[in-house]
C-alpha cells in the first residue's frame, strides 16, 4: 500500500480550500519540494526540486510548510487499519508499507484482493486519504504494481503473467537501480528485463557482484525477501541528493546537521544507539567517498552525530562539488549505554546535551518544527 501524495493529501483534507489548487509541501528559502499534489505534478513539479524552480513551473501553487506531527498521526491511523489485516506489516516510510497476506483468507473470509480494496475504501471514508495497492507474489513485484496505476490505483501481477509483464520493462523499474547502475548495465547492453534474461547467473555475478545475482533472480520475477515487521535494524542512515551539485561548505554543513537530526530522531524513536558514524559523499562524477569512525560509546544524540560527521567531512580533503551527502549510524544496540559519559575536552557538551533533551521534549509536544537550530536553516 502506497499513499498518494501523502503529505499534500493530508493538507488538502485538513484545509478544504486547498482541494482544487496545486499544493507543494516544503519550505525555506533554500527549501526543496518534499511532496507535490497531483495538480502541481501536472505542471512538472517533482519531489526534491528546489522551491524556486517549482514556483517557476507552477507560480499559482500554494506552498505549505510540512507538519510532521499531522502526518505521523495519519500514518498511525493507517497502520492500525493494516494491523487488522495481518500481523506482518513492514513500513517503508510514513506512507508506504508491505503487508504479507498469505493465509489470511481463512481468517477474514475474503481473499487478499478484497481485503485490500476494503482497506483503501476505509482509508478514504474514515481518514479522507487515498492510497494505491500493488498485489503480487513477492515484495519486488508488489512495489512495482503499486506504482502502475497511481493515484487510487489497484494493480495485480499474478505468477502466470509475471514473465510477460516484465519482458519489455526497463531495468530502472527495480528499486535501487539509479542513474549510475543504469549506466553500468547499459554498458553491458542491458536495458530491459529481456536483456537481463539472456545472461547466465555466473556472468552477471562476475560482472556486478552480489547485486548481479540479485538481478538474475529479479529478471525471473523471483524475490525471496520476507515481509517482516520486526526486521532487525542494522543501521540507520539518511541522505540527500541535491538538485544542483554543491561545494559550498556552509550549505553542506546545514545538510550534515539536518541529516544528523533525522538519524538521531529515528534512533531515539526506536530506543537504539550506535557506535559507528558514517559520512557518505557522492561527487558530481558519481564517485563515492565514504568515511567512518567508531565512537567510544554508543550515541543517539544529534549533536554527537553532527560533530562526528562534520569532523569526518573536514578530513575528507576533497573540495567537491558533490551531488549527494549522507549520514549513517551503525553497530546498533539498545540505548541503555548511550551518551553516558562526557568529554573532558568539550566542556560545552553537557549543556548541548541538555539543550537537545529539552528540544526533543518541546518537539514531542508541539511538533517537529516547533524549535529548530539556526544551523538547520543553512
Amino acid at each position: 500500500m502506497d499513499c498518494d501524495a501523502f503529505y499534500a493529501s493530508v493538507e488538502k483534507r485538513d484545509n478544504p480550500e486547498l482541494r482544487d489548487r496545486p499544493v507543494i509541501i516544503g519550505g525555506g528559502k533554500r527549501g526543496v519540494v518534499s511532496t507535490a499534489c497531483y495538480i502541481a505534478r501536472i505542471k512538472g513539479v517533482r519531489s526534491a526540486m528546489p522551491m524556486f524552480k517549482a514556483l517557476q513551473l507552477c507560480p499559482e501553487a500554494v506552498v505549505v510548510r510540512p507538519r510532521m506531527a499531522a502526518y505521523v498521526e495519519a500514518s498511525r491511523a493507517i497502520r492500525a487499519m493494516m494491523d487488522e489485516l495481518t500481523p506482518d506489516v513492514e513500513p517503508l516510510s510514513l506512507d508506504e508499507a508491505f503487508m504479507d497476506l498469505t493465509g489470511t483468507e481463512a481468517l477474514h473470509g475474503a481473499p487478499p484482493a478484497a481485503m485490500l480494496a476494503r482497506l483503501v475504501k476505509r482509508m478514504e471514508d474514515e481518514l479522507g486519504l487515498t492510497g494505491s495497492i500493488g498485489l503480487s507474489h513477492n515484495k519486488f513485484l508488489a512495489k512495482v504494481a503499486s506504482d502502475l496505476d497511481k493515484p487510487r490505483g489497484f494493480s495485480v501481477i499474478g505468477k502466470a503473467e509475471t514473465a510477460a509483464f516484465l519482458h519489455d520493462k526497463p531495468v530502472s523499474l527495480i528499486w535501487g537501480v539509479g542513474q549510475a547502475s543504469q549506466a553500468a548495465l547499459e554498458k553491458a547492453g542491458i536495458r530491459t528485463f529481456a536483456d537481463l534474461l539472456r545472461w547466465e547467473k555466473e556472468d552477471l555475478t562476475r560482472r556486478f557482484g552480489a547485486s548481479g545475482t540479485r538481478l538474475w533472480h529479479l529478471a525471473r520475477g523471483e524475490d525471496r525477501r520476507r515481509v517482516s515487521a520486526r526486521a532487525p535494524v542494522k543501521s540507520l542512515s539518511n541522505e540527500t541528493t541535491f538538485f544542483e551539485d554543491t561545494a559550498d561548505p556552509d550549505v553542506l554543513d546545514g545538510h550534515i546537521w539536518r541529516l544528523a537530526e533525522k538519524v538521531a530522531a529515528r534512533a531515539k524513536a526506536k530506543d537504539i544507539a550506535g557506535r559507528v558514524v558514517t559520512l557518505k559523499l557522492k561527487r558530481a562524477n558519481f564517485a563515492l567517498l565514504s568515511r567512518r569512525v567508531s565512537l567510544r560509546e554508543p550515541t543517539q544524540s544529534a549533536d554527537t552525530l553532527y560533530r562526528t560527521a562534520r569532523r569526518l567531512f573536514d578530513q575528507v580533503g576533497d573540495k567537491g562539488p558533490y551531488r549527494l551527502i549522507g549520514v549513517g549510524l551503525s553497530q546498533l544496540e539498545d540505548d541503555a549505554q548511550a551518551d553516558l559519559s562526557g568529554d573532558l575536552l568539550d566542556p560545552g557538551a553537557a549543556a548541548r546535551r541538555r539543550a537537545e533533551a529539552a528540544t526533543d521534549a518541546i518537539r514531542a509536544r508541539f511538533g517537529a518544527d516547533a524549535i529548530i537550530k539556526g544551523r538547520a536553516l543553512r
Binding site: R296, R311, L312, Q337, L340, S341, G342, L344, L345
Partner: protein, 372 residues
C-alpha cells in the same frame, strides 16, 4: 661484509629493529634491517619512516660493508639459535645473499641494496639534555594508558612532553588524554631542557622508547626539535617524528575547585572495582560509588547479567554523594598508584573527578564520570 657476534647481543639489536618495522608493508625495503659494519662496531637500523631506531654494538668485524635483510626473518632465526652461540653474518657478493651461520645451522637470506634504505634525515635540535632512565620511564608509564586511539583527534594520539610551571618551579611534564581521562605527570626539569619546545610523542614511539628505559642506571640523552624527538643510550638511538598538531589546553580540564575528599587504600580500591565489575559483560558498564561518612559502597547493576556490591572503609567526611564511572577507566587510574593511598577529589556527579597519590602533586589524574 663479514662479522661475528654473540647471539644474545645480536638478538637484542634485531628485536628492537623488528618491532619498529611495520608488519603490513607496501614498500619492501621497509621490512628490512640495514646492517652496517665498520671498525669494531656493527649497527642495525630499522624504520617505518616515522620512527628510526639504530642499535650500535661491538662485534668482530672481519670485513666492513653493509646490506639489508628482512628484520622479521633475521629475528626469528636468531631467536631460535641456542643461547651463547657465536653467529657469523657474511655477505656473499656473488649471490647477493646474506649467510647466517651458527654452529651447524646455516641460512641464506635474500638481501636488498643498502642504497635503497631510507635513512632519516638528521636535523637541528633546539634542546639537548640528559635525564635518568627511571624519571623518563615514570613519565611515560603513568601517562600512556590515557593516550587516545581516536583518529579524528589525531593530536591526542600521543604523550604531550613539555616544560611547565609546577608547584615548586619548572618541571618536565607528560600529559595524555582521550577526552574521558587525563594523566599529568611531572618530573624535575633536567638542566638544559628549559628551551625545549613542547612535542606530542606518538603512541608507537612511546612503546618503542620503553625498551631503552629498562636500565635503572642509564642516563638518556634527549634531543628535541619542533618536528622530531630523539632518545639515545650509548648503544641505541631512537629518532621519531612528533605529531604535527596542537595539544589542547589541558589546564582548563584539571579541576581546581573540587573539595569533597575521599582517601582510600589504592590496592583495596582497585581490587574491589575489579570484583564488582565482573558481573557486567558490557565493556563500558558503569560502577557506582556511593559515598557516606567514612563509607564507600561500590556497585554495578547489569540488568541482563546480575548485580554486585562491595563496601569499603574509607576516609570521607563530606556530604553524601553518588557518582558513576566507567569501570575500566577507574581501574586503570587506580592501578597507577604506587603508594598506599589514593586521594579522590569530587565536585558533583556530573563534573570531572581528580585523583592523585596521597598529597603528591607530581602525578595527577582526571576522569569524567558517567551517568548512572
Amino acid at each position: 661484509m663479514k662479522i661475528s657476534i654473540e647471539r644474545g647481543t645480536l638478538l637484542k639489536a634485531v628485536a628492537q629493529a623488528q618491532s619498529v618495522v611495520e608488519r603490513r608493508n607496501t614498500i619492501p625495503i621497509l621490512a628490512n634491517v640495514l646492517i652496517e659494519a665498520e671498525g669494531e662496531h656493527v649497527s642495525f637500523r630499522a624504520t617505518d619512516l616515522d620512527i628510526e631506531v639504530v642499535d650500535r654494538t661491538l662485534a668482530q668485524v672481519e670485513r666492513a660493508g653493509a646490506t639489508t635483510v628482512s628484520a622479521v626473518t633475521l629475528h626469528e632465526i636468531v631467536r631460535k639459535l641456542p643461547d651463547g652461540a657465536l653467529v657469523q653474518l657474511t655477505e656473499e657478493a656473488a649471490s647477493g645473499r646474506l649467510t647466517v651461520e651458527a654452529g651447524r645451522s646455516n641460512f641464506s637470506l635474500a638481501t636488498l641494496p643498502k642504497e635503497d634504505f631510507p635513512v632519516m634525515a638528521s636535523s637541528e635540535y633546539t634542546a639537548n639534555f640528559s635525564a635518568p632512565a627511571p624519571a623518563l620511564r615514570r613519565l611515560f608509564d603513568k601517562s600512556k594508558f590515557a593516550i587516545s586511539t581516536e583518529e579524528t583527534r589525531y593530536y591526542l594520539n600521543g604523550v604531550y612532553l613539555h616544560v611547565a610551571q609546577g608547584a615548586d618551579g619548572k618541571v618536565l611534564r607528560a600529559v595524555a588524554t582521550d577526552g574521558h581521562r587525563l594523566a599529568r605527570i611531572d618530573t624535575d626539569l633536567p638542566p638544559g631542557a628549559e628551551e625545549m619546545p613542547g612535542v606530542i610523542v606518538p603512541r608507537k614511539t612511546v612503546g618503542e622508547l620503553r625498551k631503552l628505559l629498562e636500565d635503572d642506571e642509564a642516563e638518556i640523552v634527549v634531543s628535541v626539535s619542533e618536528t622530531k624527538v630523539r632518545f639515545a643510550t650509548p648503544e641505541i638511538t631512537l629518532t621519531s617524528k612528533v605529531i604535527d598538531g596542537t595539544f589542547p589546553d589541558y589546564t582548563r580540564v584539571i579541576p581546581a575547585g573540587n573539595t569533597r575528599r575521599l582517601e582510600v587504600d589504592a590496592g583495596e580500591f582497585a581490587q574491589a572495582v575489579d570484583r564488582v565489575a565482573t558481573v557486567s559483560s558490557e565493556r563500558s558498564r558503569a560502577v557506582k560509588l556511593a559515598l557516606d561518612e567514612d563509607r564507600l559502597v561500590l556497585s554495578v547493576n547489569a540488568p541482563d547479567s546480575g548485580a554486585a556490591e562491595e563496601e569499603l572503609a574509607v576516609a570521607y567526611s563530606d556530604e553524601r554523594l553518588e557518582i558513576g564511572f566507567n569501570a575500566k577507566y577507574l581501574l586503570e587510574i587506580a592501578s597507577q598508584v604506587d603508594r598506599e593511598n589514593a586521594v579522590f577529589l569530587f565536585n558533583s556527579a556530573g563534573d570531572p573527578t581528580l585523583m592523585r597519590e596521597g598529597n603528591d602533586e607530581s602525578a595527577v589524574y582526571v576522569v569524567m564520570p558517567m551517568r548512572v
